[in-house]
Amino acid sequence: MALLLFGQAASGQENAERILQGAIALHQAGEVERAIPQYRAYLKLRPDNGDARSNLGAALAGAGRFGEAIVQYREALRIRPGDPRIRLNLALAYYKLGRISDAAGEFSSLHRERPSDRQVLLLLADCWLRRGENQKVIQLLEEGAKQSPGDLAFAYLLGTALLRDKQVERAQQVIDPILRNGDSAEARLLLGTARLEALDFKAAIADLEQASRLNPKLPEVHSYLGRAHIQTGDTAAARRAFQKELELNPNDFESNLQLGALLRQDQDYDSARKLLARALQVRPGEFRAEFQLASVNLAAGRLNEARAGLESLIRRAPRFVEAHIALATVYYRLGRKADGDREKALAQKLTMEQRVRQYKVTRE
């Protein structure tokens, strides 16, 4: 009986190991969908094996099932607290899922522990760049860029952050090495974004199109191209560009936001709403995305959802004129005339204040 029992136990152990080896072999062969059930079968037998759970997370991530991967990574971390490889994988899964804030949190903590890890540093910088935290990117990368002047990845990320922060001269110094490297997609992208900033939309489109020809998979190239097309009124071209960006990078904030806004104009409210929700997943609470989502709800006649969104937005951004205007519209359509009048008056007051600040003239 004991033998049997032992035999049974030994047989169970061998069986479990066999299942795990099979899962790893499939995983290594790239057959992640077949590896996943094998890992699950093993974990039914050995639920506390942190490595196997981490492997299952990796297989799920490989299959694009990032939400499930995150569950497994978190469970793996419960078993092996603080394991840096699992934390890196968890951060990457957050990143891929568009939970950029969560990803940034993990990368940030990893960076504090391993400040010399270049991959973590660049990923953290990229997260902040996506969240529009340009100043933080600049602070993070400036020292590294000085120490590694030939590192084009540093130069690219830092140059982009400086451009977005409107520090054009400093950006120029940082991106010079990229431009000197000859005609590259990165150089064209940077030139294109600079021209976009300078409102030279035709030249921006030419550079960005060249960048996309040189490297069609360069992150954000199609996103910027879309933004340039919007400025020329070519919304069809803009739509195509944003769609292309999102095929490559479903978490690109601007593409989700801008395409969402375009689809609202096209009265495709369901699609617009999905994209804007994604944008808000990448940058939770971002004002423009929240405003666009509320505008979709307003246009689609979902007045109470629009009202709730705008009221919440205005609580956090009380000087957002367009939000007051949209909220006034919602109140009027809900029959709340007094509230509509109040919001309308607020919008007018804020507009006047803006104008007073904006216009200074020479009078004879």
Partner: protein
């Protein structure tokens, strides 16, 4: 994630092939016939280089109307003044009346008619309308100084009756840009709405400069002002009802104004395009007052809750669904707005209809929905040219966006002929069939240039009908009367009487229908401003049909 910074292969992007769209056979074009007549009028805004004054970009209102009832449409132009003196110090600033002698030829009879305006200052818009129901169209002129009402004496002359009528008053320094005749209280007498812009005089003029060069200041430097409404009391007398009617509480920077029954309740409403301010939709409350509901109804701002530089406007049913839509243009880089009337509110249709994309390079001023090719779909004409002369993109040609089945628009300007494509700073425009061929012609002014009288060559094979509606219980001009035309094949088309069209301008009040290839009309249904319905059967196409309002 990894940012690629790899050596890059040669571009593999697809090459773009630009294919020229073939012009459909029979598409009309326009020819400027102004040079065939002796016309001395040149739009003169008083700019002679150097100092620029704020009102100068707005000059050259146009009216097309038959002032002598000879069946031929005539033309009136407003003109500017010398600045800062603010006088029409010589003939170059005089207003102008052109009498048509036939076939698109004109003679200048300004002086004989008493319309030169030598005692006036800088004039902007003009509104033609028969305010006393005597069968002769009168003229109201807007300006910097006093506004003027000219009574048509019926003998080829006009008399300034402003003082006696009680219509001209306005707060000091108010710039009145445009005006619209309409019967807001359905008493059978045409009232007058005046679209006011701001407060300005030469001494208060803000000077804006860049590198020692003047440029026209942003309108946001100036305050908004209330518009005005004058109620027609009959016997040539008016009383101002601005405050009583609710306009004092809704100021703006008024540009174009469109009159129409937007909510189909039988009472005339007003859309006013506001430059750099939210547009206004004044809904008639049927009790002598109006409620401004632009925000609620979706016309005040663009889709992103932002204002534009709204200029001229027109209100017509562009998709023949029985509801009156709105169009207004903007400066380049902004979106010209095509607002589709859903019944309960308006929704921007600019993006879906391609108007967004087509309009981006242009700064539009006057405009109008005109069915230029008589296919039954109203197209969008715009008179273009930037505010100031700042770059090579500033002088612009007019545009014509052809309506494709009421769903989208395509830019056909390039095929409209060299006269149509003349670049400049176009401002006022008006529409009417000047030579009686059933195709709508266009008269356009351009800053400091002679006007163009653009005759439409017509679309062979397409039929048309023009209705000259004469009110009896309604005011004689029947502004706002709605017409539903059903062809023999069952196609339904809509239009209405509208005179205040575009910017600073006044178009022929007759109602035009293009019928496409169909020459047979099943019925014409008219809803008069009085509410009386009239149905006509057996109407033949290809003519101007005069219809008098029945007793009931």
């Amino acid at each position: 994630m990894k940012r690629a910074l790899l050596p890059l292969a040669a571009g593999t992007g697809a090459a773009w092939l630009l294919l020229a769209a073939a012009e459909p056979a029979g598409r009309p074009s326009f020819t400027d016939v102004a040079p065939r007549s002796k016309i001395s009028y040149v739009t003169n805004n008083g700019f002679a280089g150097g100092r620029k004054f704020f009102p100068q970009p707005m000059c050259g209102g146009v009216a097309i109307f038959d002032f002598d009832n000879d069946g031929r449409l005539d033309i009136f132009f407003t003109n500017g003044a010398s600045l800062p003196e603010l006088t029409k110090k010589d003939k170059s600033y005089f207003n102008c009346l052109l009498r048509q002698t036939g076939g698109g030829a004109f003679e200048d009879i300004t002086s004989r008619a008493g319309l030169s305006g030598e005692h006036l200052d800088f004039n902007f818009g003009v509104a033609a309308g028969d305010y006393d129901n005597d069968g002769f169209a009168d003229l109201f002129l807007c300006g910097i100084g006093r506004n003027v009402l000219y009574h048509n004496n019926g003998d080829g002359t006009f008399t300034d009756v402003t003082a006696a009528s009680g219509i001209g008053g306005k707060p000091a320094d108010t710039l009145s840009i445009a005006a619209a005749w309409f019967d807001y209280d359905r008493d059978g007498l045409q009232d007058l709405f005046v679209s006011n812009y701001t407060l300005w005089n030469p001494k208060s003029d803000a000077r804006c400069m860049m590198s020692d060069r003047d440029y026209y200041c942003d309108p946001r430097l100036y305050p908004s002002v209330p518009h005005q409404l004058f109620r027609n009391l009959g016997k040539g007398r008016f009383t101002e009802v601005t405050a009583k009617a609710g306009f004092a509480a809704a100021p703006g920077k008024g540009m174009g104004v469109s009159v129409a029954d937007f909510n189909d309740d039988g009472w005339m409403d007003l859309f006013v395009a506001h430059d750099t301010e939210p547009n206004a939709l004044f809904v008639n409350r049927k009790n002598g007052t109006f409620e401004e509901k632009g925000l609620e109804l979706g016309v005040a701002y663009n889709e992103n809750a932002q204002v534009g530089s709204s200029m001229g406007c027109d209100a017509r049913d562009f998709n023949n669904d029985g509801k009156i839509d709105i169009f207004y243009n903007n400066l380049m880089g902004q979106i010209w707005q095509l607002l589709r009337n859903r019944g309960d509110l308006f929704q921007s249709y600019s993006s879906l209809s391609q108007v967004h994309k087509l309009s981006m390079p242009f700064s539009g001023w006057s405009n109008g929905f005109i069915d230029y090719n008589n296919d039954g779909w109203k197209d969008i004409y715009s008179a273009n040219g930037d505010v100031d002369m700042m770059s090579e993109k500033s002088p612009q040609h007019d545009t014509l966006f052809e309506n494709v089945d009421g769903k989208s628009f395509t830019d056909v300007s390039a095929g409209m002929g060299k006269d149509f494509l003349r670049k400049g700073y176009q401002r006022g425009s008006a529409f009417g069939d000047l030579n009686g061929d059933g195709a709508l012609d266009i008269v356009v002014t351009s800053l400091n240039e002679p006007p163009r009288i653009l005759l439409n060559s017509g679309a062979p094979g397409n039929h048309w009908l023009m209705l000259d509606l004469v009110g009896r219980k309604s005011a004689r001009d029947a502004i706002g009367a709605k017409v539903k035309l059903t062809t023999a094949a069952g196609r339904v088309l809509y239009n209405h009487v509208a005179v205040s069209v575009g910017f600073m301008s006044s178009s022929d009040r007759r109602v035009h229908f293009g019928l496409g290839g169909e020459g047979k009309i099943a019925s014409v249904e008219i809803v008069w401003p009085s509410g009386i319905r009239q149905v006509l059967k057996g109407v033949a196409a290809g003519r101007v049909l005069r219809v008098e309002e029945p007793e009931k």
